[in-house]
Assembly symmetry: C2
DNA sequence: CACTAAACGCAATTGAGTTGCGTTTATAAT
DNA sequence: ATTATAAACGCAACTCAATTGCGTTTAGTG
């Protein structure tokens, strides 16, 4: 992603532009798959942020609706860039039980939620498909 | 739940009958809502199992398909009794963003999964609705 | 250039869940 | 009933992803 676009995204979210955040966004963008903090740290190598700063940047991105957060069963969060603006999820995710990889199924859209029982207000939904990915099946 | 039924469930799962496990199953059964280890400990008071033993019992129940496990966003697992036998989930869950309560939407059934892209094997799905429960809306 | 709030790095902390290990108990064979 | 054995249990110590505190640096504004 071009620096200009990243500057625009951060500015629109009311966040300061920093080299670390730019690298983080670019990396999430090009990977286009939910990543753990550790994967991000490895991917960014020296040019990147501190572990704590990665979590804090991702938190602010999450608040701003720039990323979404996945918990795929092992109590480790994964983060993916998401242009959709919604704070929730706009597509289902696939989780491979063998290699643990998580994939955004961006081609699929979540159905409009049918009104639930009386009194319930449904604001967002989260859908996971679990099984084996092409590499593992 | 009657003791006889619990004995039968445990035997069928290849697990020993113990007072602690019986109390655990009975409590999950009567609560019929996903509970954390801490909630279970509080609910069972003195008559119950040690924290570690609760986790170990729940693990074996999970393997046997007697319970299912929910991760509702705060990195704390919740467990609910589930007679359906499947190791996965047979219904969606509702998560209240205000009070944190989780509910099994047993009246709703998960749709048959449409065959995904080539190579993917979908074994189970997990569906969460997030919003406000009747008490919080 | 000066100012300020936001962002950052490091070290220490938190807490849900796990592991090791010695003891107890359910279950089935004798 | 007695014994044998594997499963279940309790306690203490541990793991490790994520958080917090705090002093320092930096981006953005004027
Ligand atoms: Mn996604
Ligand atoms: Mn349920
Ligand atoms: Zn895989
Ligand atoms: Zn609520």
């Amino acid at each position: 992603m071009e620096e200009k676009k990243i500057k625009e995204i951060l500015h629109q979210a009311g966040l300061k532009y920093t080299p670390g955040r730019a690298a983080l966004i670019a990396f999430l963008w090009e990977t286009s798959r939910p990543l753990t903090q550790e994967e991000i740290s490895l991917g960014l190598k020296g040019s990147g942020l501190n572990k704590v700063s990665i979590y804090r940047a991702l938190d602010s991105f999450l608040q701003a609706g720039l990323v979404h957060r996945i918990e795929s069963g092992d109590r480790v969060w994964k983060f993916a860039f998401c242009g959709c603006g919604s704070r929730g999820h706009c597509h289902p995710h696939f989780i491979c039980r063998s290699c643990g990889k998580v994939e955004c199924l961006t081609k699929m859209h979540l159905p409009e939620v049918a009104a639930a029982d009386q009194g319930y207000v449904i604001e967002e939904q989260e859908v996971y498909f679990k099984g084996l990915c092409p590499g593992c099946s």
